[in-house]
């Protein structure tokens, strides 16, 4: 009995040490399992994001090529037909017409010119050659001037002339976003003053749109872009994802703001 009693502390200490080791191993294995699961989860998330970006890119590319095709058809076919009509029309001797005929001739010529101009504008909006030839700043200025022409909206631009980086993908993305935002401002905000500023920082371009009227807050933007009717906002968000940029909406009574931050790579 005594001999057995002498062994008890040793056996008991061994049991405690073994259980302690077992418990520690159990916790370590659980931790490693969780870490592995976490890594796999992250990898899966990245793959999912990559796949989503590829889908967005494909959608944007197909939209751009479709725009290009429509713009070319409008310019080269519809525009050419209208110009030909205009040429034939101008060959009509208006002097031989009576007063009513003269008036109708003049009105038709006006409408035809208007039509030709509209086709040109739509064609250029769909596919801006100005963007390719003169860069983003000039394309934005030109778009704004043409868009507000004949309206009561005042437009100001303070664009950073240091932005000379030619990255067609980025420029086209930014241009389309600005187009969509300006159209939305004119359509929904009922603004009569728009100001666009751009600042080129170290490796990002910051564009700020100031406007009066009914603005949009960030929360409203987040809510609207998931609605079926918020297609324009969804497109903006998709393009921002592709550009890896950030967009922020600020709603104020007199000065609403939309801030775009787009990373630019000077080497590209």
């Amino acid at each position: 009995m005594n001999e057995q009693g002498n062994d008890i502390p040793i056996i008991f200490t061994a049991i405690i040490a073994f259980v302690l080791l077992l418990a520690i191993s159990f916790l370590v294995i659980t931790f490693l399992n969780q870490r592995r699961k976490w890594q796999l989860h992250n990898e899966m998330g990245k793959l999912k994001e990559q796949q989503q970006n590829q889908l967005i890119e494909a959608a944007v590319r197909s939209e751009e090529s479709e725009r290009h095709r429509i713009a070319e058809t409008l310019h080269d076919e519809v525009g050419a037909i209208l110009s030909s009509v205009r040429l034939h029309f101008s060959n009509i001797n208006a002097l031989q017409l009576d007063d009513k005929g003269k008036k109708l001739h003049e009105k038709s010529k006006e409408l035809l010119d208007d039509g030709i101009q509209k086709v040109r504008t739509i064609s250029h909006n769909l596919h801006s050659t100005l963007l390719k030839e003169f860069g983003l700043n000039e394309a934005i200025r030109n778009f704004l001037t043409k868009t507000v022409q004949g309206t009561l909206v005042t437009v100001e631009t303070h664009l950073d002339n240091n932005y000379l980086i030619e990255n067609p993908e980025t420029d086209l993305g930014v241009y389309r976003i600005i187009q969509e935002l300006i159209n939305n401002i004119l359509k929904h905000a009922h603004a009569n003053f728009i100001n666009i500023e751009s600042v080129l920082k170290k490796d990002e371009l910051e564009l700020v749109l100031h406007f009066n009227g009914n603005g949009l807050s960030q929360e409203e933007f987040e809510e609207l872009r998931f609605r079926p009717e918020g297609l324009g906002l969804k497109n903006i968000q998709n393009r921002m994802i592709l550009l890896k940029g950030k967009i922020f909406f600020e709603k104020n009574k007199k000065d609403n703001r939309i801030i775009l931050t787009i990373p630019v790579n000077p080497q590209s």
Binding site: G5, I8, P9, F12, I15, I16, V19, L20, L22, A23, I24, F26, L27, T30, F31, N33, Q34, R35, K37, W38, L40, H41
Partner: protein, 231 residues
Amino acid sequence: MLLNIFRTFFDWSEVWALLIPLAILIIYKPKGSWITAIKWYLITALILGIIIDFYWYVNKEFWFGVTKEKKNYWDNNKFYNLQSIFRLLFFSWFFAVQSNYFKRITRVVPILFLSFAIILFVFFKSFTILSSHLMATEAGLLLIYCLLYTYRVITDDKPLFSTNHPPHWVVGGLTLYTAVNFFIFLFYNYLMYHSQRLKDYAVGVWDVHNALLIILCISIAIAFYYERTRK
């Protein structure tokens, strides 16, 4: 001398160890559904811990006119039994708020455990003696909770990391505490009343319990800290 100071410091660990998570709780004021359960466990354990160590100190030293004859009244064993009951109740509450998975089991287990404690102390054992049966049962039940929790974490598709899910720290500390203490509690009565040699050994083994309590308290403190930084 230095060893004596360290010895006294370690002997009082059942009090000061609990102050670590309580200090984090007061400083950072973390908010979470599980915090309340742990907070009440810490407060109860602290009160009982102070009484336990105070009784032990009085029993050990001649103090404030307490004569040797009266020292038998200063037996702290009953408070260990009480602490065991409260520990199971508060940790059941803690697991109950973790997920619906624990709702049913955490309702049944405390009732069964309380019934077991009542039957044990009314018919079989004295409440004034530290009960190996009660404390080992309590440690075993808490260990089952911990294993069920870990099983759920492992089989869940969603990864839950310790920093984004602070209760993991509490469960980790509790797993260590209960796994080892289950055996200490189970054989404690046997060791204490078998022979003087084994009694001395049992007193020494209690240091392992104290060390694991310190680890548990530190893991609770870490959980409180991460709960505060969690968004």
